[in-house]
Amino acid sequence: MVVRHSFVFFFISLMSLALTGYALASGTVSGTIKFDGKAPHFRAIPMDADPICLSLHKEIVLPQTIVLGNGNTLGNVFVYVKSGLTQTDFPIPSEPIVIDQKGCNYFPHVLGIRVNQKVRILNPDGTLHNVHAMTKVNEEFNMAMPQFRKEAEKIFNKPEFMFALKCDVHPWMGAWIAVMSHPYFTVTQTDGKFEIKGLPNGTYEIEAWHEKLGTKTATITITDGATQTSDFTFAAPSQS
């Protein structure tokens, strides 16, 4: 009995050690993204073009291009590992990515999906949208979503960095999609914070992308599964 117990104990200890070791070997890159400059002058979106859209909002709706938090932190920035990964094959998540067209706007506004991952596009508004993927690498489509079509599914089968998703019925509707071949990416919320976990030891190029402000890159090295910090600041285009 005792012998068997100690054997089990030994085995569990060994397993947890191995797991901790594995966890230790995978590092994290994190940081905060800020905006430096004056935010654009936004005009309210004229939703009266479609009475249904108009009825869904009590207050004015502003474009989602520059979304700032306290202390000028910047949301809707796509942060990802641009190069340095040695592994090329990653399992495709079985969970679909959801794009919601709620209130005649896309949620999320910037998103990453995986090659061959299912994308569910929802239409809860009871109005007519068309979903126009302005791809260059994947096959371009302009799909009708009449009010009775509550859901549609799409798959992008090639990696493609950033294309716009548009609705031409409601010209203000726009989202940005990156079709990624690996899982090391994230999008900032208004607090501007990002974290990419599970990176094996190595040197990586990290890129932050913003639809209006362009890109910023940094090179980081992960050793012994440590956390590396990499902050980015995007400046507004200047007159000079």
Partner: protein, 334 residues
Amino acid sequence: METKLVSLRRFSKFMCLLTFSLIFLGALVKSTESGLSVPDWPTTYGKFMFAFPLDQMAGGIKYEHTHRMLASIVGLLTLGLCIWLLRSSVGTWIKRLGIAAFVAVVAQGVLGGLAVRYFLPVWLSTFHGVLAHLFLIILIMIAYGLSMEHNHRRHLEDAAEGQWIKMVLIFTGMVFIQLILGNIMRHTQSGLAIPDFPTMGGSLWPTMDQAMLNHINAWRFENNMDPVTKVQVHIHLWHRIWALLILLKLGYINYLAYKKYLNKPLIIKTLFLLNIAVALQIMLGISTVLFMKEVVVTTCHVTIGAFVLGLSFLLLLRSSPCTWDSFKKQLKRK
């Protein structure tokens, strides 16, 4: 026989007016960026065009769908005009123009459809915009050929001198080139590539350097627009320069008319209207920039552009002899 010709005459003029409305609607589609709001063609959301319920024409669909419906009507009426001309006793060249109009309208419809199917490639959309004006010119020619005025002038030797005709011909060509430039500008999203007037990128003289581009793009960022490239700035600049050249040319034409043709009311009347249209057009062009491509202003700018072309062409017709042979002779004569 005569009564039939009267109706045909009226019908041809009506077609010109209808085409102006169609150009207005087409411009509205572009101004509201709703060219792809109906993703399928020739059907509308899977339905036969005229069976699409009107209460579903939300957002951009109202512009695109109305444009398609009016375009189909114009197409059918053009077929009617063509058949009518072929069966009437009018001259061969008008019959040929009738066929040309029909070919143009079919090509225009197919181009529009292809533009939708291929997600509005720049060159296709541009060509669609330009062909619209060619179609208009054909219709004006038909209407003029059928008109009382033309019929009356056939027996007079009232054509203007070759130099004048050449001048108006060049002017009409310049206006047409301006419409092409405008179309390219619109479909390459360069309408606000220079967002200020009378300054250009912050200075009175466009330096066309990086500093100017930075200045423009900073302005565009502040107004939540995408940055532009130097190519877009060039396209925009040429539209402005060309407008200035057209204005100078028109000034010279006025001078010439004042010197020589005060006794020709037909020419003076048309030139007067042309002057008003050009003045209005320049004001609308400036307003398009100052009001940041406000939909109605921009759409009117495109439509009045078609008017300017139509009037220049009418001036050309009214100045020229009534047959092609004498037209050529007149041009050669000094």
